[in-house]
């Protein structure tokens, strides 16, 4: 039951993150909301694994913790350089 209540709490926090992603007037608000949502996903996957009695879900949480970071850095690199390839030297 503890894990169920904690999972519901994490889902409420995810709802707030989604509202911020919908509302956020600037683009950086949305990027921050997606980053926060990714961290909540990792926590919720771990809690759901314990709730269902199968801690093997931790592998998925491990993969996702890294994928989230890489995709956020790729998004920010795009916004900085307007290009996703190698960073061009602006001459």
């Amino acid at each position: 039951m503890i894990y169920g209540v904690a999972a519901l709490g994490l889902l409420v926090a995810m709802l707030f993150a989604i509202i911020r992603a919908l509302l956020g007037p600037t683009l950086m608000d949305r990027v921050m909301a997606v980053n926060m949502f990714g961290t909540k996903t990792v926590l919720l996957l771990a809690v759901l694994g314990y709730l269902a009695g199968r801690p093997e879900f931790l592998d998925l949480a491990l993969v996702y913790a890294l994928m989230n970071f890489i995709s956020i850095i790729a998004v920010l690199k795009y916004f900085r350089y307007r290009d996703l390839g190698q960073s061009r030297v602006r001459s």
């Binding site: 894990y3 999972a7 989604i18 269902a52 879900f57 998925l60 996702y64 998004v75």
Partner: protein
């Protein structure tokens, strides 16, 4: 509450969050915001898949949907005018009617199917025991899912691999930043040369 009831409640809440995100994707004007919301949608689907005990599908959904697909969409947005917004929304009656009728017919046709996981459904009685009994005899690999994918349903896998490979080639050619293939870079370089000449 038992574990099954908690899982059902969390499933319902996750589907509700999917509805909120879908509403946001439809109504949002800015294309970058839509790409971010699509990433959130893929994350929610990955969690629904883990609740349905399909961890490998959740792996694929999280890695592809929230990682690669977001980056590819941003690469596509880099090729077009970055200030462009979506075309304005006009309400059309006929497509909505077709969608509603198709959905209603599908829901009505679903009533005849057996419930999820019942023991006397046709696939549990005929198909699954065949795979379980014949795999150690004919194929002798420890994972039955691998045997089904690679041997019993091999043509299906061949078709899927062809589709994914073709899509990958198409995306690479569109988004390539290599100067030999990328047309936009070639145009820009030719344009710069012309500017330097005059």
């Amino acid at each position: 509450m038992s574990v099954g009831e908690w899982e059902a409640l969390i499933n319902v809440v996750l589907l509700g969050l999917l509805l909120v995100v879908t509403f946001g994707i439809i109504r949002l004007r800015n294309l970058f915001g839509v790409v971010m919301l699509a990433g959130i949608y893929s994350l929610l689907m990955a969690m629904v898949f883990t609740l349905l005990d399909a961890v490998d599908v959740a792996f694929t959904e999280a890695a592809v949907g929230a990682g690669v697909s977001t980056i590819l969409s941003l690469g596509t947005l880099a090729l077009i005018d970055s200030r462009r917004e979506k075309i304005p929304f006009r309400f059309q009656f006929t497509p909505m009617l077709v969608a509603l009728v198709t959905g209603a017919v599908l829901l009505w046709g679903m009533q005849d199917m057996p419930a999820v996981g019942t023991a006397d459904a046709p696939n549990q009685v005929h198909v699954a025991p065949y795979y379980i009994e014949r795999t150690p005899v004919e194929i002798d690999v420890p994972n039955i899912v691998t045997a089904v994918l690679a041997s019993y349903r091999g043509f299906d896998t061949l078709g899927e691999v062809t589709v994914i490979f073709t899509a990958g080639i198409g995306v690479m050619m569109l988004l390539s930043s290599m100067p030999v293939i990328g047309a936009r870079r070639r145009r820009r370089r030719n344009g710069d040369d012309q500017e330097n000449d005059t």
